[in-house]
């Protein structure tokens, strides 16, 4: 019988390759459940989960909520807008108040890197990081690797390029850790202003030319330009970014091989990815969303059994 090595899912950095494989194998079973006429199992029927979102989210929050409901957990939702956070309550107080209502697990998104790590030192409930600032977004990385495994059979030995705003992206960092733990080769590509200075020290290749990057890779994970996190101008205009780093169908067709295109969403169509590329047969964007529910069910299930 296998179990996860950690009580919380704070980041991919803190878990092992074995943990990731266990999550994938469990997700396979949940994916099977999700394809049945009755898509619900009663595993978490005595568990209450709070989705605590201090930042905006559509996909991740819906995906977590659906995963929780498919597992029969009781779910409460909290978002910082319209809450007492605006009245000056601290993070720990807010969460302790939620926990006082007998909540077993917390799914949290927060704008500050390390916020879930801080919480994990102070509270008893299991914590799942649903994105902490520019740091990590572990479930997104898990579902990305899971989708690659599903499409290409295995992650090991595959060449994956992450294109775009690496500097402000939590998806990029979690993906780098996950892909490397599973044995893939990772490259990052983007304008030099959007690549962190010492990114090579993580053992990734760096490429500034998107065409060369695409010619090298088996999978391209395209990221959004995170304007909301940028304090200053990193490139002259979106139009210029799109011209140099935007990926369209013509560019994909001009490569002498098939590559797989992924995007964690939300897509800014016409900026990092053109509509015809996003909707082409190269793209597995909607499979990623589908797999997200199965992956989150697996994470919730495996963590819930560690109380």
């Amino acid at each position: 019988m296998q179990e996860l090595s950690a009580r919380h899912l704070l980041g991919i950095k803190d878990i092992t390759a074995e943990d990731i494989r266990l999550i994938f194998e469990t997700a396979d079973n949940f994916k099977d459940v999700l394809n049945r006429p009755i898509k619900k199992v009663p595993s978490l029927r005595d568990i209450t989960i709070a989705n605590v979102f201090f930042e905006n989210s559509t996909r991740t929050r819906l995906s977590f909520e659906l995963a929780e409901k498919r597992l029969s957990a009781d779910v409460i939702n909290f978002s910082s807008s319209g809450s007492s956070v605006k009245k000056g309550e601290t993070l720990l107080d807010t969460v302790n108040n939620i926990l006082a209502m007998k909540v077993d697990m917390i799914v949290m998104r927060h704008a500050s890197p390390g916020a879930p790590h801080f919480l994990s030192r102070h509270i008893k409930a299991n914590i799942i990081n649903a994105g902490d600032g520019t740091h990590e977004h572990p479930t997104q990385a898990l579902l990305d690797s899971y989708s690659i495994r599903e499409k290409l059979g295995d992650v090991a030995g595959k060449k994956v390029v992450i294109i775009g705003d690496i500097m402000h992206s939590r998806v990029a960092l979690s993906n780098i850790f996950a892909l490397q733990k599973l044995g893939a080769e990772v490259m990052v590509c983007g304008p030099s202003t959007l690549l962190p200075k010492h990114i090579q020290s993580l053992g990734v290749k760096v490429e500034l030319d998107v065409r060369k990057a695409l010619a090298w890779c088996d999978v391209a994970n395209v990221l959004r330009i995170q304007l909301e996190r940028q304090q200053m101008k990193y490139f002259p205009s979106l139009r210029e970014y799109s011209l140099y780093y935007g990926i369209d169908k013509k560019l994909l067709d001009s490569l002498d091989k098939e590559i797989t295109v992924m995007h964690p969403g939300p897509i800014n169509r016409g900026v990092e990815l053109s509509s015809d590329a996003a909707d082409s047969h190269h793209s597995i964007i909607l499979n990623q969303v589908e797999n997200g529910v199965a992956i989150r069910m697996a994470v919730l299930y495996l963590l819930a059994s560690k109380t």
């Binding site: 019988m1 179990e3 469990t26 459940v33 006429p37 009755i38 199992v41 978490l44 059994s305």
Partner: protein
Amino acid sequence: MQKRLIVNHQLLDIMVMRLCHQLIENHGDFSDSVIIGLQPRGRQVAQRLQANLETILGMRVPTGYLDTTFHRDDFRRRDTPLTANATHIDFLIEDKKVILADDVLYTGRSVRAALDAMIAFGRPANVELLVLIDRLHSRHLPIEPTYVGRRVNSIQSQRVLVEWQGQDTQEDNIWLITKNEE
């Protein structure tokens, strides 16, 4: 640890054949019947029943495997989580006569979970339970088998192990294992 052989491979062959004939008595040509093995160890039982019925009747009875892990009632009450297995049922059980097959019936909790899990595949006309070994006086729930290979008197510290040729050992055997008192 003591290991006592309670059914050897010849007896097991005879036992499975007898169970098949009992099934034929109740199910006739099996036109509306399906076999579902409970993962992990009922899968072998289901396969063996299917193979023997094919020899006798000349037809393959639809057979699937059902995993009950996510429907168990001991989640968070065990030290380590149970590992899930694949479910493979490529037919609907709506209005079918379902034969649930498992190797050992002990507390009855797996069967309860199976009855629950099965509903995702339709509403069966009726459900029967077939087990190779029925451990007497150990039930936690009012669940009794329809077809039994052998009834065994055992105590809680003992365990019944069904070994299948090729998977675990050279030949099929059923053992009663007693742990030594420490």
